[in-house]
Amino acid sequence: MKQFEDIKKQMPYAESEDYLEKLIASSTENAIARAKQPKAKVVSMRVIASIAASIAFLVTVGLLYMKVPERQIALVQQTEEQLIAADNGPIDDFLNTLSDDEAQLLAYYDIDEIPEY
């Protein structure tokens, strides 16, 4: 078996000079022909990435915008619940002692309906 120094610069595979000349000649002519062709509109990866990023941004902004009314409704509901929970003053205590009919009378109170004594 050869050692490192004995192997020199030989490759285990070879291509004939004739073959390489033909390959180089054909690749050269192809390159010239391709360069002459009108450039097709190739969408580069950079453009695709930019478009994808823009779409992602718009979708994110859209979703956030859609969520704002939901948040507002939730906030109002929360505030109402807090107000109800906080309603425990003397007026509320008085109202709680009234029956439904008395509460209804009080609600539809009209100055003209005050009975004369």
Binding site: F4, P12, E15, I24, S27, R34, A35
Partner: protein
């Protein structure tokens, strides 16, 4: 570079200087002729540089084709600083690396293609490859890709560290250290696996 010397030795056509070639390439009337002379002069060197990276013959053909297209279409962007050959080597290296990248899966590094490339090497050398040379190539395929490329340029193409630095963008010191590390690794591999 080595290939230039070979051409001169064999008398395979008259070599033009880089200045002459660039002069022709920058003249629209002589551009095609200049390009044909350029590829005739450096095509073989570029082919073997690519082939050593991608190993497979078909891949080397594809990468060479793309390299020629890039050279021809972007010769105007060559600023004239540094060697023309270094610039062409850089294009060829990048094309070879993109061929390797196409063989990887998502998030897989090209350094993990060692086994794939070894299989290619075995299929390419099944008939006429000498065992020691195949073993040497297998040892090279155990190196990280960038290190292997730098090793190839130094070992096969006799490029100076400065020239390799121009191609790879790495510092001369790093390249020297990597080269010696690669030599040791290859020697050890051969010692271990040679019968």
């Amino acid at each position: 570079m080595q290939r230039d010397t070979e051409n001169q030795k064999t008398g395979k056509g008259e070599l033009l200087s880089q200045k002459q070639l660039l002069g022709m390439l920058s003249d629209p009337a002589q551009r095609e002729k200049g390009f044909r002379l350029l590829t005739k002069q450096y095509g073989s060197t570029l082919y073997w540089h690519i082939r050593r990276i991608v190993v497979g013959h078909d891949d080397a053909e594809d990468a060479l084709q793309e390299t020629f297209v890039k050279i021809y279409t972007s010769i105007d962007s060559y600023k004239g600083t540094g060697q023309l050959t270094s610039w062409m080597y850089r294009i060829a290296t990048n094309e070879a690396l993109s061929i390797l990248r196409r063989q990887t899966h998502f998030f897989q590094s090209i350094d993990s293609l060692g086994e794939t490339l070894t299989n290619k090497l075995e299929s390419e050398t099944a008939l006429d490859g000498e065992a020691a040379e195949v073993l040497f190539q297998k040892a090279l395929l155990t190196l990280p890709t960038q290190q292997r490329i730098a090793f190839n340029m130094r070992y096969y193409d006799d490029m100076s560290y400065e020239e390799i630095a121009n191609v790879t963008g790495k510092s001369v010191g790093t390249l020297k250290a990597n080269y010696h590390y690669a030599v040791e690794k290859v020697k050890n591999y051969i010692k271990t696996y040679s019968k």
